[in-house]
Amino acid sequence: MTTPTATWNGARDWAAGETLTEPSFDNYLSSNLLALKTPPQARTTAGTTTSTTSAVLVDIALVTHTITTTAAAAEVMFTGIIGVTVACSMITTLLIDGANVGNATWGIATVVRAAASTDTLSYVFRSAVLTAGSHTFKMQWLVTAGTATLQPGWNFYVVER
C-alpha cells in the first residue's frame, strides 16, 4: 500500500482504458492534495535581536531559511522593527541562493532615519519559478553610519506557492 505524503508528484495524464490503481490515487490524488494544502515552507516568528555597523552588505544573522521546492515560485515575507543610533540610511536586500534579487541601489527595503529612531521594515516578495531542489533565502543589510539593530520579534517566512 502506498502511503500518501505531502509530495507533489505532477499532474498525471490519465489514459483512456487505464485501470485506476491504489498507488496512482495515493500518488496523484492524495499526495498532490496534501502538497497543495501544505507546501514547503519555513518560518521564524519571534526572531531575536541582531545588529550591524557594516557599511557593505552582510548577512543578517538568523534571517535565513532553506526549503526544498518543486519547480515552483516562492513567496518571502518579512516584518520587523529597525532601530538606528545616528542619522543614516539602512538598506536591506534578499538573496536567493546567493543572488541578490533586490535593486542594486535600493535593495529590497530601505529606510532613511534620524538619530535614535526606529521604523518598521517589511516586504512581500515573490520569486521567479525555481528549479526543483533546495533553495536558501537570506537577508543582508548595511548601514551608512552608526549601528542598526533589528529588534526582537521579527518574522521571516518563506513558502512555495
Binding site: W8, A11, R12, D13, W14, A15, A16, G17, E18, L20, Y28, L29, N32, L33, A35, L36, T70, A72, A73, S89, N103, W106, I108, A109, T110, V111, V112, R113, A114, D119, T120, L121, S122, Y123, V124, F125, R126, R161
Partner: protein, 160 residues
C-alpha cells in the same frame, strides 16, 4: 498554453470514471491550483511625481488573466519626498478603479526628512473576485506637495 480551472465535478453513483473527466477535473484543476495565474513587475528606475491627485505610477501595471477567483495584489518598495512633512499617498487599482479610500488610498507616508526613504507596502485581497478573463492591476499615487519618488515591485496572483 494557459491553464484552465474547471468547476469541480459532482461525481454520480456508479459512474464509470473516464480519462477525459479525470484529466479535466484532476489533472488540469490540480495543475491550476499548483500554478495559479501570476504576473509581477519591477520598476526599472525610480519614478517621480508632483501630482496632487491620484495618477498611475508610470509603468506600475500588470495584466493577469484569471479564472474568476479572488486576487492578491501587492506592491512593495520605497518612497520619499522633497520636503519634510509632505505626504506620499498610494493606492492599488483594478482596471483603473482604485480600491482604497477616496482620499487616503491604502497607504499614506509622511516624509520625516528631505528624501528620507521609507517603506511602501500595499497588500490587498479582493473580496469580490474579478470576472474570469484579463484584468489590469496598477499602483496609483499622489503627493500633498513637492516631488515624490518611488521604487516599487508589483505582483498580482489569483487565490481561491
Amino acid at each position: 498554453m494557459p491553464l484552465t480551472y474547471y468547476t469541480p465535478e459532482t461525481w454520480a453513483t456508479n459512474e464509470i470514471v473516464k480519462a477525459p473527466k479525470l484529466n479535466r477535473h484532476l489533472r488540469d484543476d490540480m495543475q491550476y491550483l499548483k500554478t495559479p495565474p501570476f504576473t509581477s513587475y519591477t520598476l526599472p528606475a525610480i519614478i517621480s511625481t508632483t501630482s496632487t491627485s491620484f495618477v498611475e505610477v508610470t509603468g506600475a501595471t500588470v495584466t493577469v488573466t484569471s479564472s474568476g477567483g479572488n486576487m492578491w495584489i501587492a506592491a512593495c518598495g520605497e518612497s520619499d519626498n522633497s520636503a519634510t512633512g509632505n505626504t506620499n499617498t498610494f493606492d492599488l487599482a483594478i482596471d483603473g478603479t482604485r480600491q482604497g479610500h477616496a482620499t487616503t488610498g491604502l497607504t499614506t507616508i509622511v516624509a520625516c526628512g528631505i528624501q528620507y526613504a521609507d517603506n511602501v507596502n500595499l497588500i490587498f485581497f479582493t473580496t469580490t473576485p474579478p470576472s474570469a478573463g484579463a484584468h489590469t492591476y496598477s499602483v496609483y499615487w499622489k503627493v500633498s506637495a513637492g516631488t515624490g519618488r518611488t521604487f516599487l515591485r508589483l505582483f498580482a496572483i489569483e487565490i481561491r
